[in-house]
Symmetry: C2
């Protein structure tokens, strides 16, 4: 029978993911070698192939996992109700979730071009599902006369870009707390879309 306890794979596997995530976020997918990732984990390069088919799949799994977790967390938000309340919930959620995962977010935007065509399509589909959530809120608010939007789809892109931009400048040790941050961005969004 296969061993259960004493098996390292359940420890090493996540460590490979973590090392790959950190190194790719710092240097870029193409700039990081399998040997560097292995060294970070403390094994030889060959051992990585117990945990991934190849380097491309390693990247794809990082992005897919991130997007799936993001969608799972998003699903906790209310899908119906007052559009303004839902928009606020979405904005605060987006900032809170993304600011805690700068490496994942960075990679998810930067390394799309290093995905194979099939893998790219898969990730784009997940991203599209995420954006649809905000799109639905904006359209509902539009119908209810609470928002004044000429092009809800464009507003979706604009709001997500604005919120995600937090990651480019926010530092944990800065003057602003995460609550301050969410308040500031929510004020901007609220006024931008308000009827």
């Amino acid at each position: 029978m296969a061993r259960k306890t004493g098996s390292h794979s359940e420890i090493t596997g996540p460590r490979v993911q973590a090392a790959a995530l950190r190194l790719i976020a710092q240097h870029g997918f193409a700039a990081v070698s399998m040997r560097q990732i292995a060294a970070e984990v403390g094994v030889q390069a060959g051992a990585l192939y117990n945990y991934t088919n190849d380097k491309q799949t390693l990247l794809f799994d990082l992005l897919r996992t991130h997007m799936e977790h993001l969608l799972e967390a998003l699903a906790q938000l209310p899908g119906t109700g007052d559009p303004i309340t839902r928009l606020e919930a979405f904005c605060r959620f987006h900032i809170a979730y993304h600011i805690e995962r700068p490496d994942q977010v960075f990679i998810s935007y930067m390394e799309l071009r290093n995905l194979s065509p099939e893998n790219f399509t898969a990730i784009e589909a997940l991203r599209s599902r995420y954006e649809s959530h905000l799109d639905a809120i904006l359209k509902d608010g539009q119908s209810a006369g609470q928002f004044a939007l000429d092009e809800p789809r464009v507003t979706t892109f604009a709001v997500i870009a604005m919120l995600t931009g937090v990651n480019t400048w926010y530092r944990e040790d800065g003057a602003l707390s995460k609550t301050d941050l969410a308040d500031l961005y929510w004020t901007l969004v609220r006024r931008a879309v308000a009827a």
Copy 2:
């Protein structure tokens, strides 16, 4: 005497820059080899070294040139006057300029991490000068009571992220004209900052 006509360097030099720009934007700095760039230009790899000291300098020159041109163009905008008018001018300028140069914009955000520390500092300084322009407008409008901003610096980041985000989704053959686009974004910004 040195030759003047018949000298190819004034032709090949820009072609090297253009090829490097296109390929790096598409695949990433680390993923593109000097041989690929040379092939795109139609020369051997060694010939590139007539136009750049090394690969790092080639990247740096692309980013530096982009930022310098951006700042030159920005300098054409009025530096004084009604803050609302200046903010509108800035927003329309930013979108118009960036949307015409997707490769440069992409590289300028994506490849910062592949710059040497000194080169990184130099580019960041240029970027900071650009952001200061918007920052000044927002602070002037704040003082004049035309804008209501809790943190002008954060608003600067938010607005720039939102406007630059256009590049991630806009397509030349889409339904929206560039004027429509600028109108939509300007409406969002105006309402977001309005007192």
